[in-house]
Amino acid sequence: MTAGAVTTARAAPGGPAHRPLDASLGAQLRRADRGRQIRALLLVAPLLLFLFVNFALPLVLMLAKSIDGREEARALARTGAALASWDGRSAVPDAAAKALVADLGDLRGTPALSMVANRLNYDVNGMRSLVLKTARRLPPSGDATLAALGSIDPLWQRPEQWAAVLRATDRITSFHVLAAVDARRDPAGGITMLPPQQGVMREIFLRTFWIASVVTLACIVLGYPVAYLIASATPGWASVMMMAVLLPFWTSLLVRTSAWVVLLQTNGIVNKGLQGLGLTSAPVPLVFNRTGAYIALIHVLLPFMILPIYSIMKSVKPDYVRAAVSLGASPVTAFRRVYLPLTLPGLASGTLLVFVSALGFYITPALIGGAGDQMIGFFIAYYINDTVNWGMAAALGGLLLLSTAVVFLVYTWLAGSSSPAWRS
């Protein structure tokens, strides 16, 4: 400031000519800052590169899989062109039958045939065997009419099969994304929802959110008092209790989950204990069902709730509660109107951490839950590993990512509106 004023005065006392000087000062400042920015960027460059190669790039490539229909479109290129002007309802032109016969002829004997057959089968059940059967008995190309295909299998007479073929020829396809929400395109190109008994994805998503919510709620109820206890204990006891919270946190997730299976099984220590205390006469089913999944998930995620709440509680001085009580607030009122609002940011970040982690949980419910307790992560793995339907896995993963982003946006919106200028 002073330096600038001195320079200005020396150059042109009181005149408008000081502008260029100020501008050059600004340029100097920017140049100096730029040097610092470049240095900072170079320092984080390895990390950024690592993140890009190992995180951002795979993420984008995987998400792209959910809308990528290029392989199928290439394999059925001639059919796609022949069906381009078809309205989806009227009789299929013979040219299309001819093109399909030509495409299948080229595909016969290559792995791409099976890929196309699978893709069509995801859309309309039975298409896989229809395509494979047709490929085996292809009519000569000169005689390739709709009627000829119909004689191989009368299903070819129906527009539904052809609509599925047409849908498989889109280079960019909404098929997997729609399937991930139990929807599909009807022959006319509109979007329809599957009837409830056919759609499973909605139920799986609802189940995932439900389990995550129950686990989060349980972590709040269990974690908040523990955090309070640690925050208000003497330093010695606080470090003992903190150890008890952190020790499982440092243990491998797989080990902890397997340990719960051992503890909770029919002849496990928990059931033996319950029977020994006379609380139950027969073993309680605690594992490979929802109860077991809840127990293990809550145990695994509890530290994520306790730690942020604890750190906020440590920063809330006991004088606030004392002041509230001295002003006439009962302990319950002082808690509700002073302590809880002051610790709410910790509660909110703990809730976010636990809920988002729970949404994507895979190992623990997979090992300890039953068939009806699997969450979305299990199905992503299932589509990747078992059915090798990467498009569907990518669509489900994208949807999970989207849900997480929405949860996070809601969190930042709530945190931004309720708290606080006073924390900054």
């Binding site: 001085k317 004392r322 002041a323 509230a324 002003l327 006439g328 009962s330 009122t333 002051l342």
Partner: protein
């Protein structure tokens, strides 16, 4: 003492121990009259804050009893004691505005919203913060925050207000100003105030009576001027105001006028506190402003060598080294009237016997 004479707060033989071995507060007996301003003065760890916290209900007395308006508080929860309290760090709720903070004691008492608003407005005017109701506490200066805390403690018309080092975090100028404001509020409202501080000048400025705490018990409780002029123990003499202290041997006791011998053998006279036999060594204290340089012969007590003269504008401090090695300081308003004061020269010092106190305890 302002206000009535009825006993408002009474500590009856109150003890408090945290560890079961040492007493943080030891056999405290104290009565505070209605409308009185009493300050608990003492160093940290002297039991003054613990006593205040027991009165507020945040600590439980180990034995003894505390009464407010004649009623035992031992079974009264802190939030039912109807005490306004002001904390050192203000303890304003950061998630509420100034107005919400002040309305808090009203809203927990179920006062209707319209009445809350008018009472908050009135008390904000009283602490001269009328325009600040919508702000957050963090947007106010330290002095303003403490005024809000004061307003919050006053708004529900408590008859007893406790202040725990309320000005400790403020700079000196602001502290002086707020001391006067609190004093004026006390005079206007006629409430009883118990004020805790370790700052002796604050205690002397504001209080009707000062209770000096040390080691868990009250050393002396008296009006500020009495405390200053007639300290009852060597601790009070040293803690309240400045004092020169040294040990002397008692050579004769005549009522409360004692004759003593300084370590160098000079005969000197002082007011004796307590009873004491001849031959004992006792602490003697005399204030710097009572030390006379080159006194008349009948007030001459000791000889000391001048080491340093420190100019303070309105007065000058002269540092002397006594023959036995102690440092004594004299506060002189007009050093030029004393003649030349060459550094390093020995000169006679004295005092009026009634200005010097010797403690048997």
């Amino acid at each position: 003492m302002s206000g009535g004479n009825a006993t408002h707060v009474e500590f009856k033989d109150v003890c408090k121990t945290y560890d079961g071995r040492t007493l943080a507060v030891s056999h405290l007996d104290l009565t505070v009259a209605s409308g009185e301003f009493v300050t608990f003065l003492g160093p940290s760890g002297s039991g003054k804050t613990t006593s205040l916290m027991m009165l507020a209900g945040f600590e439980t007395e180990t034995s003894g009893e505390i009464l407010i308006a004649g009623r035992s508080m031992s079974r009264v929860a802190p939030h039912r004691r109807n005490i306004g309290m002001v904390f050192q760090n203000y303890a304003l709720f950061p998630h509420m505005t100034v107005a919400e903070n002040i309305a808090f004691p009203l809203s927990v008492r179920g006062v209707p919203a319209a009445e809350q608003a008018s009472r908050v407005g009135r008390v904000l005017e009283r602490v001269r913060l009328g325009a600040y109701g919508a702000r957050r506490p963090s947007e106010l200066s330290g002095g303003q925050q403490q005024r809000v805390a004061l307003a919050r403690a006053l708004v529900f018309d408590p008859v007893l207000i406790l202040m725990d080092e309320p000005l400790g975090a403020l700079d000196k100028q602001l502290r002086d100003q707020l001391q006067l404001e609190i004093k004026h509020l006390h005079a206007e409202l006629g409430v009883t105030i118990i004020y805790v501080t370790h700052d002796q000048s604050e205690a002397l400025t504001m209080s009707d009576r000062v209770a000096v705490f040390n080691d868990g018990s009250i050393q002396q409780i008296a009006s500020p001027s009495h405390l200053y002029r007639f300290p009852a123990t060597p601790f009070v003499a040293g803690f309240v105001g400045e004092n020169n202290q040294f040990s002397c041997t008692v050579t004769a006791v005549e009522g409360d006028t004692w004759t003593l011998a300084s370590p160098a053998g000079d005969p000197l006279r002082a007011v004796g506190i307590g009873s004491c036999e001849v031959g004992r060594s006792v602490p003697v204290s005399v204030r710097p402003e009572h030390l006379i340089v080159r006194p008349r012969d009948d007030m001459r007590m000791i000889d000391a060598r001048l080491e340093e003269a420190i100019y303070h504008g309105d007065h000058t401090r002269l540092r002397f080294r006594t023959g036995w090695g102690d440092v004594v300081t004299a506060k002189v308003m007009r050093p030029d009237e004393l003649g030349p004061l060459p550094i390093g020269e020995s000169m006679p010092l004295g005092w009026r016997p009634e200005d010097c106190r010797a403690f048997a305890a």
